[in-house]
Symmetry: D2
Subunit: 363 residues, 4 copies
Amino acid sequence: MPTEDTAMVVVMRHTATSQDIDSVVRAVEEVGGDAFVSRGKHQTIVGLVGDLAQFSEMPLHAFPGVDDVIRVSRPYKLVSNETHPRPSTVWVDDVPIGRDTVTLIAGPCAVETEDQTLAAAKMARDAGALILRGGAYKPRTSPYSFQGLGEKGLDILAGVAEEVGLPFVTEVVTPADIDTVAAKAHMLQVGARNMQNFQLLREVGMSGKPVLLKRGLTATIDEWIMAAEYIAHQGNLQVVLCERGIRTYEPATRNTLDVSAVPVVQSLTHLPVIVDPSHSGGTRDLVLPLARAGIAVGADGLIIDMHPRPETALCDGPQALKRDDIVTLREAVSTLATAVGRQLPERRDPALSAGGAWGRSAN
Amino acid sequence: MPTEDTAMVVVMRHTATSQDIDSVVRAVEEVGGDAFVSRGKHQTIVGLVGDLAQFSEMPLHAFPGVDDVIRVSRPYKLVSNETHPRPSTVWVDDVPIGRDTVTLIAGPCAVETEDQTLAAAKMARDAGALILRGGAYKPRTSPYSFQGLGEKGLDILAGVAEEVGLPFVTEVVTPADIDTVAAKAHMLQVGARNMQNFQLLREVGMSGKPVLLKRGLTATIDEWIMAAEYIAHQGNLQVVLCERGIRTYEPATRNTLDVSAVPVVQSLTHLPVIVDPSHSGGTRDLVLPLARAGIAVGADGLIIDMHPRPETALCDGPQALKRDDIVTLREAVSTLATAVGRQLPERRDPALSAGGAWGRSAN
Amino acid sequence: MPTEDTAMVVVMRHTATSQDIDSVVRAVEEVGGDAFVSRGKHQTIVGLVGDLAQFSEMPLHAFPGVDDVIRVSRPYKLVSNETHPRPSTVWVDDVPIGRDTVTLIAGPCAVETEDQTLAAAKMARDAGALILRGGAYKPRTSPYSFQGLGEKGLDILAGVAEEVGLPFVTEVVTPADIDTVAAKAHMLQVGARNMQNFQLLREVGMSGKPVLLKRGLTATIDEWIMAAEYIAHQGNLQVVLCERGIRTYEPATRNTLDVSAVPVVQSLTHLPVIVDPSHSGGTRDLVLPLARAGIAVGADGLIIDMHPRPETALCDGPQALKRDDIVTLREAVSTLATAVGRQLPERRDPALSAGGAWGRSAN
Amino acid sequence: MPTEDTAMVVVMRHTATSQDIDSVVRAVEEVGGDAFVSRGKHQTIVGLVGDLAQFSEMPLHAFPGVDDVIRVSRPYKLVSNETHPRPSTVWVDDVPIGRDTVTLIAGPCAVETEDQTLAAAKMARDAGALILRGGAYKPRTSPYSFQGLGEKGLDILAGVAEEVGLPFVTEVVTPADIDTVAAKAHMLQVGARNMQNFQLLREVGMSGKPVLLKRGLTATIDEWIMAAEYIAHQGNLQVVLCERGIRTYEPATRNTLDVSAVPVVQSLTHLPVIVDPSHSGGTRDLVLPLARAGIAVGADGLIIDMHPRPETALCDGPQALKRDDIVTLREAVSTLATAVGRQLPERRDPALSAGGAWGRSAN
């Protein structure tokens, strides 16, 4: 853990005594921090500056006379751009995701059959995707819904990825499956519902694989970045954040795509951040407008569902793009990327890639 | 406006220069405030203490090097229990609403006919209500919905109130109607949708009548109290706050009754706060459980819809209590009030009331 | 009110009797509607089809045996694209806002002085704005905040608009001010806090002026469109909707810009819809990314705050664009508009405009 | 999986053709369901009735001409009170949690030391708790926060529980720990962040232990009940639901306790539901009012944090009750339980308990 300056403000109650104020100051000084008292006629606040490790566990809120404790520095370190000012590029096999490019990830929501997966993968490639997505292990709200093909689905996906020549990302839902999935996939996805499954975060951190970390349905941006910090804490900085819509009171869309989160995250961390326009809107008609908005707001990539026959899909058919949409998508990505001064990424020279830290060696 | 101590914290960016910090300090000192600098190795914060009027308009957030500005003292004064530590009792004609009692307000959501209003008013009285409620001017989401009977409804309500011998509260939706309504009603209601209709707040403040101020559907507690401060700012401290459910992502209930708001408001202001279990739940089955919860959490009263024939109601029939519910309600209010150490209120001696500032003279 | 087909579904409880079902069917038939019963072994639903006016006030939810009533058709008519399939263009003096163009509205949040207003108006014109914005009457959360210059501010704005040669829009906060404002402004703004101030909606409807209707902080899209229906109901179809961010649990931004609302609104109504990237984000750094996202998602225009010296602004300084941002904004609007196949609008020939229904005659 | 009647409504677009309608009807009939068409002049809806298993995977939303698909029956079966009308009582060792009683669960948020745990357990017993709570494995937002003592904490907890003579519940955060925890604890807790960790739900389902299932921070009531269905689906119906506050826009409290959820859940399932007033409010002052509200609204129990010295607590000190609060809590629980017609539970005769299905044999 990096030792680093941190800051907090302790707001005292109107009724706090000098003794109350002193006991806060002493407690801070005992752990080696500095406390600065700002005393007004009725209101007193105490500013604390020092090392994070010292303060993070101090229950100052429970001290007598304390009204509120406000943290004013960021709780994450390894993924912060304060410690690592240059934006990172994460390599998924030979494909980069970073601040200068717009990388398209696409494929079926769920792997159903080899035919369907292959058809969707070809659609993805035609749309300009450089990374294939597909779900083998599916977290579903109902135990009666299709739960994914599991390891069989993983094999289908690996075969199809080989055939279309793209690396692939797939979700892992429980620590016990990580080894199996990491042996085949080029990137591990942690889904929205598992964003605070801390044991899963630790273990994907230990896997050494790049990780696609979806924002929880109602995670704040700070909690989301802290989840990335869990992964980084295991020595794995290859994390891509993915905004996929948050839960709000609005019923017209499945979720509300929080495009503001993209520039906010980019101002706080060095990690790439992409946008998922498929799961946030929940209907096909919204995918292209939201994909355009994602690129325009500055996302480093997109992840999009597609299906050869959405009306038969076992999962999230209503939002999957169809063949007819492929050309429009490819053109939209290319036009918008140019409009915001970005390029489409190029795959790394295979000669270099072979020996790369994040190369295909796991396969 | 009371001049009073206020406090803020200015958080400087990591990249802020000494000049940036100095210019914040100077700006604060120029308006007569005190600035205390807490400087760490990487993080600096500036604590400000001084007079509210001086800081409230300073755009410190726009100063170079400033990352964030955090207000740590309360923005309201007249309704704060810092300036007025004893809880207030608001009198509606001869009926008190205050911290030691549980006052029941009840009646029809909307005035439809004289018969329906009288029947509902008798139900209210039988349930133990000491104040009658009823809507003559109705704010409706759709221009095609029943908009209330207006002045005719007000006359019906006044007649029925006289007949059952209870003072009444009714909503006012626009400044132009205040004089008409205030001439007959004993208390003016500002509805949830108008909680930040500031001109309406000012003018009910000037009316001299007690005001029932509903919380906006998505108002924070601070914004709600600030709305009460608008009324108080016109010299009218006879304000009763009403928690009526907030908008959340949960679709199972019309709104989410925020019972925590009751003790929070009581810890911040001297004003009474009541609960509306009818509009938050949206169905009859929830009214009694939420009424019980409201009293148990410490509300100073309840406001409840009732209707002699809910299946014909022109407004919010599904949530109106029926005749069968009256006895249960009366007993629940009485039992729960006792369980939390409160009493049912007694009406003030008419001899005293006649000459009182909030008496019936307006009639 | 247009008579039109509407549909609802009544879901019966498991315990509903045949009598319960019959009484729903009879009630619907009595008002001339058709009821279709879908009866399963355990679950029965009744589909209703007929005229809106007949059902909208029926309290079916309060009938015995009824579990839920679900409306499946849209509650609004005049602003719906079912009744008016071609997108409308709203003219603000000689400037169009419509589906083929991207119209920029810009200016100071609040009118403070003539100099500041003129400087901001010139910045707006330089950025490519064709309509000037500026606040003379300001709704403020605190009674202690700057409340706007009122009529004096209106005069400053009118003079400046004349000088820079642009029509202007300004907010009206209470019905009593409409005549004064409408005599000078080319478009009336209804702010987020007043979106359900129904009397204000009716009266701006009667004013005959184009109306800019901001979405309430926590209004659903349906409620927002219904607010537009209130204006249309007075015969005024010149309404432009404005998405300005909604209230969510996320504290990192002032509000969450709901870009999905743009295509959703465009799929439901014929009205133009624009985006306000200044008030949603709350900080200058977010304005340009959100402006880009707004155009990319398909907005018909933008409304943006600018100020010659944001660090002295009396209102919302932290989010106002500065002189340095003007060129970037102009280029971003132009590039993005092209990227999504739109044009910058052209002002109408003054010869035509003079006699136009929405022309400058009011001045 | 129980086969059971289910119902859905398919809403057709205005532009849907007869063919579109027919293809929906045919698809439903092919899987053995019944489709009822309700056709109006402009709007057509199709009611579907049949077996859940047949429809749940049909992507009707993706059919041409379909505007919306609305499910009108409940998606859960085993935990529904439609299939199991009598409320269940869940036994934690010899302590019942059910509809006629109010069961208090209490103890330290986190196990820190043996002394602290024993002191907190004695406070819990003095307050009238019949079940001890305590965290050995702690899910924490930050990797730098105290993560719990793990297996050592579990041993402390087991020893203390033995000493004070109470069964105990503790959280399990990952499938790999279930066997270890289930060997000692009398009830397994699934925390809010893991409410949709489906593998964890399946495995606690298989453990045969009673489960305390906290509501996710932003789970809808339906999703929460579906999570219980996952556990029930493994043959384990000993599930107690726990409302612990939901995430809303309101910053004044850590979460918003959704008391309405209690009667709503009780109207939908046969499972007991309790309330956690400690984690929702986030401050000590709110615990007692919210505890009272929880009982008044009809909760079957409470779970409350307590700590002998909150100002030294390693986790959530600010909300832990102190020694001074114990008597007040005991009296509040007893008085309120009586006021709503409930009793305090009695432990089962040990002679019976020894041989009981949920007895202490696991120890």
